[in-house]
């Protein structure tokens, strides 16, 4: 058993925060890391390690590396963050690194892999460290590939919400680690929050999306209103984005975001292959479409053949009742 653990090496989990809080999807990654039965370390670079301890120890993290620079938290710069992570991996003898295949993950994990000349698989839905294999989608989500990795370090980006988070309480210790790095020709000038705001598509439990059937940008307000009642995120198909009705950041699909919420409600979306590529691993797919023959009705869990402009307001009304009822009990 000990020999197996030594062969598998230690595993680091890069924890991602938003507004000082641990993004929910991290707990699925931790759950996946726990299955590997390797010694685990959580890595935090935002200066919130002590504040995160409570939550992290709920999910079986015993060691938290608090990565800082000599000036305090490492200011966001993907190059500096990647170098700091590598220094910590080197110091603590961590051979595998897991993180989210999120926007930040896509900016950090490949840099770490490139600097280490290590194999990297992004958007994994399963991992077996002992066999050195992972599973991920390929060919626009039409196939699942089993990939074997070889090398001295192993880097994995996990698809957000692909793994259900399971608690496993323990006690954690915070270990400080300080390192300073140059920015190597890449400076971060500014981080800008766009007006659209709303909930991150990759963090949401429920997504309501609109497509061609929405007809114009103003109509998306009915989806936003519905979403607000239950804290859902609002997405869109490529048609709506290309028509200029909503920003590209709302697009779900092959050339947009890949999401895996518990519930995906598609309103006025026909269900092209490219759209499915972005949401096919959702828990439940629900379609509202006036066309009973739309592709999406063949590949969903539940569908309503009706005008979304009738259904969505009724849905919003009923959801408000449920929420009010829940607040009373």
């Amino acid at each position: 058993m000990l020999k197996e653990i030594l062969i598998m090496g230690k595993i680091g989990i890069l924890i991602e925060l938003k507004d000082g809080k641990i993004k929910k999807s991290n707990f699925g990654v931790i759950t996946l890391a726990r299955r590997q039965e390797s010694e685990r370390y959580a890595l935090i670079l935002n200066g919130n390690a002590a504040a995160c301890k409570e939550q992290l120890q709920q999910y079986g993290i015993e060691k938290i590396i608090d990565l800082t620079s000599s000036e305090g938290p490492v200011k966001w710069n993907p190059v500096k963050w990647s170098r700091a992570i590598i220094a910590a991996m080197d110091h603590f003898d961590i051979t595998s690194l897991c993180g989210l295949t999120s926007g930040r993950g896509r900016d950090i994990l490949p840099r770490v892999a490139a600097y280490l000349d290590a194999p990297l698989v992004m958007d994994c839905v399963d991992l077996n460290l002992k066999d050195r294999t992972v599973k991920k989608s390929q060919f626009s989500g039409k196939t699942i590939a089993t990939i074997k990795v070889s090398g001295n370090h192993f880097i994995f980006g996990i698809r957000p919400n692909a793994i259900d988070a399971k608690p496993d309480p323990c006690e954690a210790a915070v270990i400080p680690f300080q390192a300073d790095f140059a920015s190597e020709g890449l400076e971060v000038k500014q981080l800008k929050q766009q007006a659209h705001g709303g909930i991150d598509l990759t963090e949401a439990d429920i997504i309501i999306s609109g497509g061609r059937g929405m007809e114009n940008p103003e109509n998306f307000e009915i989806l936003f209103e519905c979403a607000r009642v239950i804290g859902a995120a609002v997405g869109a198909s490529r048609v709506a984005v290309d028509a200029g009705w909503v920003p590209h950041t709302m697009q779900v699909g092959q050339t947009g975001a890949t999401v895996s919420p518990k519930v995906y409600i598609a309103c006025g979306i026909s269900g092209s292959v490219q759209h499915f590529a972005g949401m096919k691993t959702s828990g439940l797919i629900i379609a509202v479409n006036t066309d009973p023959e739309a592709s999406i009705t063949k590949n969903c869990d539940y569908y309503i053949v009706e005008d979304l402009f009738k259904i969505v307001p009724i849905l919003t009304r009923h959801l408000k009742l449920v929420v009010d009822e829940n607040q009373l009990t």
Binding site: K18, S102, G103, R104, D107, A114, Y115, D117, P119, L120, V121, M122, T133, K136, S137, Q138, F139, S140, K142, T143, I144, A145, T146, I147, K148, S150, G151, N152, E184, G185, L186, V188, Q190, L191, Q194, H196, G197, I199, L201, I230, H248, Q251, Q254, T255, G256, K262, V263, V273, I286, P292, N299, D301, Y302, Y303, I304, E306, I311, I314, H318, V322
Partner: protein
Amino acid sequence: MKIYVCVKHVPDSAATIAIKGTNQIDESVTFLLNPYDEHAVEEGVRLKAQAEGSEVVAVAVGKEAAINTLQSVLAMGADRAILVKTDDPPDSILAARALKAAIEQDGKPDIIFTGKESIDSEGMQTMFRLAAALDMPVATNVVALSIDRNNALVESELEAGVRQSLEMQLPCIIAAGKGLNKPKYPTFIDIRKAKKKETKQIDLDSLPIEKSAASMEILELKPAVEQRQPTELKGPPEEAVLQLIEVLKNEAKVL
């Protein structure tokens, strides 16, 4: 400016993918230029128009059939193309080394464009490996770019609703996201002109490439099977919605 664009010949996302053997696909489907690479090519061609005396060179690593994709890139406005030929699809580690060798053999890049990911392998990493190999800064998911003397000022979408503004010293690598530009479709004349432009073919084995100790190998490809059994929620709108609420409460357990 010496502008290189790294492109990939990939199956059309609308194509039906059939698995051949344990880990290959049936390649008799339509192949085309990777969608994100369209934005990379377009940006390279636009940059060329702004900087007199510039040249856009397209580079691809792949089978001989990739010549077709390189032709479409030439039709979009690239000046020359290079195909690093191999019948064995390389992993990202090898692909990056091949691109580096081909580019260095050809000239001194001022800027390199790529797409942010390919829709077949969905690896999201080749540009980072190329950047590390060439010792250049790199940014991904770039949706805005301006060149200011020796610096590239880019905007890259970092996460939901958050854009980062970055400044990188040239030479650098820009991985294009959707939204960087609107690619122009070539005219018939562009396509004709493209046939006269030079495409050089180099065998991967002939390039000075050191093999890495690291690799990623596809052991198996399986179809992602759709297992959903659709159920229609029938009745007048009010009734259908009530059934949906029950599903959300009892099955999805999100309420």
